[in-house]
């Protein structure tokens, strides 16, 4: 090790140390939030309320889907990623490779994925198995599940959506039927179902205005539940999930203050106001 110049290396390390400390104490005021379309109205409401309370804060919220938000978190173009599913191991591995962290997962609300029907549909409740058969394309006509003799028209989310992934993994448990029309955002799914009497779609509970909410049963012998605060809290509604915020690192400064506020009673009250379910 004779030709290692330890003085130079020590100086190099000192500069890095100063850099680390300087960055750690930089107070970042502008916060960008990107991700889940399911969560976008909730995230916007949080941002509006927080900025009203803290005029110096600047929070920019966009959707795009959980997958898009996670990609943005990995490539550094967002500070907070909203996700309606957990991060996959492959995504955590990318975060490790780029930022040397495992990310920080913050459950911030609960959601019951809601199944939408047209109000004129005779079918009012379905089992998880029936939903799986419908969205996998094994059941094609409403009469097979007690409805009219009409072809079932399927509406769902794009594959970048956390709702798409969660519904596929926990309900469909197979590939979606090829005729399932994918739409950009839960609001678009709700609109499509409103206009189509033979439609069925899925999305977040907060978007259920103007359409029929289908009750869901775990199996044929179980009671049917509609997604609401009580059934979601008690885990009775069978398609219940957490909604998350993901960060690259443990929050500091303005980011920490914002997240603490979201998890405070004030932030969690907004969760209820927007049709989701609080975690605290």
């Amino acid at each position: 090790m004779k030709n290692l110049n330890f003085k130079k290396i020590a100086a190099f390390l000192t500069i890095i140390g100063i850099g680390i400390i300087s960055f750690a104490f930089m107070n970042q005021e502008r916060i960008t939030v990107k991700g889940s379309d399911t969560m976008v109205i909730l995230a916007q409401k949080w941002a509006e309320a927080y900025m009203k309370k803290n005029p110096s804060a600047s929070i920019q919220v966009t959707g795009g889907g959980s997958g898009t938000g996670i990609s943005a978190l990995i490539n550094g173009s967002t500070d907070i990623c909203n996700a309606s599913r957990k991060m996959k191991q492959t995504e955590i591995d990318k975060l490790k490779a780029r930022y040397n962290t495992l990310g920080v997962e913050i459950p911030c609300a609960k959601d019951g994925i809601t199944v939408y029907l047209h109000p004129t549909n005779k079918v009012k409740e379905l089992t998880l198995k029936q939903l799986s058969d419908i969205f996998a394309g094994r059941t094609k006509n409403w009469k097979e599940v007690g409805g009219a003799n009409a072809e079932i028209r399927l509406y769902g989310r794009e594959n970048s959506s956390g709702t798409y992934v969660f519904f596929k993994d926990h309900v469909v448990k197979a590939d979606y039927a090829p005729n399932c029309q994918t739409l950009p955002g839960t609001a678009a799914v709700v609109n499509a179902v409103k206009k189509d009497i033979n439609a069925i779609g899925y999305g977040g509970a907060a978007y259920s205005a103007g359409i029929e909410i289908c009750k869901v049963k775990k199996d044929a012998n179980s009671p049917a539940y509609q997604a609401n605060a009580e059934t979601v809290k008690k885990n009775q509604y069978p398609i219940t999930r957490y909604l998350y915020m993901y960060l690259r690192n443990r929050p500091t400064g303005a980011m920490k203050a914002y997240i603490d506020w979201i998890l405070s009673p004030e932030g969690q009250n907004l969760v209820t106001d927007m049709g989701y379910f609080p975690v605290r």
Binding site: M1, K2, N3, L4, I9, F12, I16, G19, I20, I21, F23, A24, M26, N75, G76, S77, Q89, K96, A97, R98, Y99, N100, T101, L102, V104, K173, D175, R248, N249, R250
Partner: protein, 447 residues
Amino acid sequence: MNTKAQSVEDSIKEQISEMKDRVNGIDERLMTSESDLSKLTKIKFSGYIQSEFNKYENRATLPSNNFSLRRVRLKATYEAADGVKFVVQPDFSPGSFSLKDAYVVLNDHFIHQGIFKNAISLTAGKFNRLNYEVEYSSSQREVPERSLVIRSIYPGERAIGFKLEVNPQGIPLKVQLGMFNGNDGGFNQLSDTTGKFAANTIENKDYDNFKDIMARATYSFKLGNIGGLDIGAHAYFGSLKSNTNATLHSDFTTIDSSKVGDAVKRNWFGAEFQFFADVLGGMSLKGEYITGKNAMLGGSKFANGNLLPNFQNNFAGYYVYLIKNIGKKNQFAFRYDYYDPNTDIKGSDVTISKYAGSNSRKIGSFKSSKADLAYTTFTLAWHYYFDDNIRITLAYAIVQNEKVGTNSAGAPNYKETYTNPDGSVGTNDYSKVFNQNQLTIRLQAKF
């Protein structure tokens, strides 16, 4: 009036019908376009270009500085169906076009419940061998090149074969089992004239019936708010078919008689860890230690007609990385790596005749050499991420050789001569640590 009203109604109906036909036509065209587009979205292209400037301080290296394209990769991935993936990745580096990856991945579709649901995948073709630093992409690695031990035992990184990978649901465990031809990208044949290692000219093609087996397992622990720790181990069990009647061991005295066709074993084990902590931003400490026995084939004839022996060398090597991110844009990395290709003799014994062996018929004048010396490399690197696609790297590698001894006259037992640009002859004296450091400035564009 009724006739007129009827006529208007008929006209409206006709127009509605026409409009419906048009809408249906557009709908049909849209569905065709969507169908075509969905096929295109199954194909993904990614890649990266590493353009760099190198400055070599070893005076035997000429030119001592140059611009080069270190890697020019274009990766095409086609997801034919859910769980079926094809990958082709050539490297377009000037003068060295090569196929780096070409494989198919099939995910299990038979297990629908329990921890093994969607947990098993089969990969077949040419792909990275099962090792942490090998599988870690060069576009992400925090220093320009892999550690010397990895470059030595896994030359070219890839091999042809297959692997089974199991990632049980809900358990942070990964188990990989692979089988390969075993002679990929290698330097596992001896030159017939010098007795030194020469490039295998039949890269990626097998020439014996022995297949090499690899196994690797990793497990991830979460350490609460601190971060996480991944630990793992891998093993390599390989053989080469002997073409000669002797195998010389790396002490340069032990000779095993072997027949043509016998298996010359290459076995090693490695243990690895990666620790990630969120301390004022991300940081990680990663390391791996590998030790075992490697082998090179003999068999070609010396000038005197004797057969070269096979050569089996006990080796050991390790690397340790310390990486620290500062904000979103900057990253510093330090790596210390060590590789001793021959743990049976010391540097001071290299080329000493007592290690020439007692059986000259079998080993001729085959002696320990530069190839038996250990090396340490301390690499410092700074990366600036201009954006998601562009990374600028400044790296400096401090390379140190194990020293050879000197003879009674004080001359080194091993030295290399080189010609300076002015025509004078210089010497790299291996009895000293001579300057062979390297500076790299790299611009990486990734998409």
